[in-house]
């Protein structure tokens, strides 16, 4: 402490000069608007750069909150999207309609893609109003169907399951067929039963057909990567590359269709 005081006393002229300089700069700023705006400009640049630097560290610690926010927003937007696509003016009778779809967001607890019949486990169960035979979708496309629930968890039949068939159609001409997995690659499925009178080209989008109550219609599934005409010349066999990346799935939405019990009654 004594040394600090000594150092200050030794250079006291310098400190006096600095102090008076600061006073006079403040005085300058106060009296002259031009100088005031120039000095403010300098201070803005300085504080902008420094605060930017500090923010780049702080924002890292807020990532978890931001993530949760984004998940909530995504859920809302997806619901809106689905609801919007259901009310196309020319068909009001097929598939679930506007206010009947609810999305429940969930996280994948366990996943597998290497077996022939793959299952997943999600962290929502009966206490979150999840029942069997609900469809599961992700931000990119569809994921599977719930087949078993307990109080807090649910098991999902993944799309990558040889026994699961989904009703799907080509987006631009509404020709529908049956989508199933060959069991070979985790991102390729086969769409069959599309008659050859429908034109098709590589890159066409494949979406859900809406004929089953698992998924609302017009949800994206994948893209046509190649197609062949069967020997009978009446149907195509189309290979579809999925939009969903099953190996990196984390957040999904469970589709709750309020009309489903009514549709099931009719099926019986």
């Amino acid at each position: 402490m004594q040394q600090i005081i000594n150092a200050i006393l030794k250079n006291r002229n310098f400190f006096i000069y600095l102090l008076l300089l600061i006073f006079s700069l403040l005085f300058l700023q106060k009296k002259s608007p031009y100088h005031q705006s120039t000095i403010r400009n300098i201070s803005l640049t300085l504080s902008g750069n420094l605060l930017d630097f500090r923010n780049s560290y702080q924002s890292y610690f807020q990532l978890r909150e931001v993530n949760k926010q984004l998940m909530r927003q995504n859920q809302q937007l997806q619901s809106l999207l689905i609801q919007g696509s259901q009310t196309a003016p020319n068909d009001s009778t097929s598939g679930p309609t506007k206010s009947d779809i609810e999305l429940i967001s969930a996280r994948i607890v366990q996943n597998s893609i290497d077996g022939v019949r793959n299952f997943m486990i999600v962290d929502k169960g009966v206490e979150n109003n999840v029942t069997t035979e609900m469809g599961v979708i992700s931000d990119d496309g569809i994921v599977g169907v719930i087949d078993q629930t307990n109080q807090r968890y649910a098991s999902v039949v993944s799309l990558l399951h040889r026994d699961l068939k989904i009703n799907a159609k080509l987006k631009n001409n509404n020709a529908f067929g049956s989508l199933y997995w060959m069991g070979i690659q985790p991102n390729k499925m086969v769409l069959s039963d599309i008659p050859t009178i429908n034109p098709i080209s590589i890159g066409d989008t494949v979406v859900t057909g809406g004929m089953s109550a698992y998924f609302p219609k017009d949800l994206p599934i994948g893209k046509v990567s190649k197609y062949t005409i069967l020997p009978s010349k009446r149907y195509y066999e189309i290979e579809v590359i999925l939009f969903t990346n099953f190996s990196a799935l984390d957040h999904v939405y469970i589709v709750r269709n309020f009309d489903k019990p009514l549709l099931d009654q009719l099926k019986k």
């Binding site: 008076l20 006079s24 700069l25 300058l28 002259s32």
Partner: protein, 166 residues
Amino acid sequence: MLQENIRSGISFVVLILLQFLLFSNINLMGMINPFVYLLFVIRFRLDANQSLFIVLCFFLGLFIDLILGTAGAHTIATLTIGFLRPLIVGFSFGVNADIPYAMVKGTRIANQLTYLGLIISLHSILYYTIQYFDWSAFLSIIKNALFSTIFTFILIWLILGFYKPK
């Protein structure tokens, strides 16, 4: 000693009065004015308390600023010159010179001229830099500083000639 301080005080006030009554209204070439109040900085004792001198320079510049209405440029320039004066004296007269005043008869003319020139030119450059406060006006600053240095130098040299040699 007391007579000394009274003289300093009187010259402080007189110089300020002269500056704003007479010398700032000359406006040569539209805007160049001599800064005759620098006489105070030039003629102040060299062996007095440097801290006191810095504070006195601050107030000198401040009063000129307040009266003339220039926002702080005189203050900053005069203050800096007051702070740097020992360095300038060391440069002009040699580091070991032990003179009580800068402009006494005993010192050489060359040294005196250097001392005068440095103080006036530094002050002018600082003053105009603060006034413009813009790097793109560099040429204007240099031009104004040059002309005001010359003008102030001539006037101060003339006025100094009126003092009896010590």
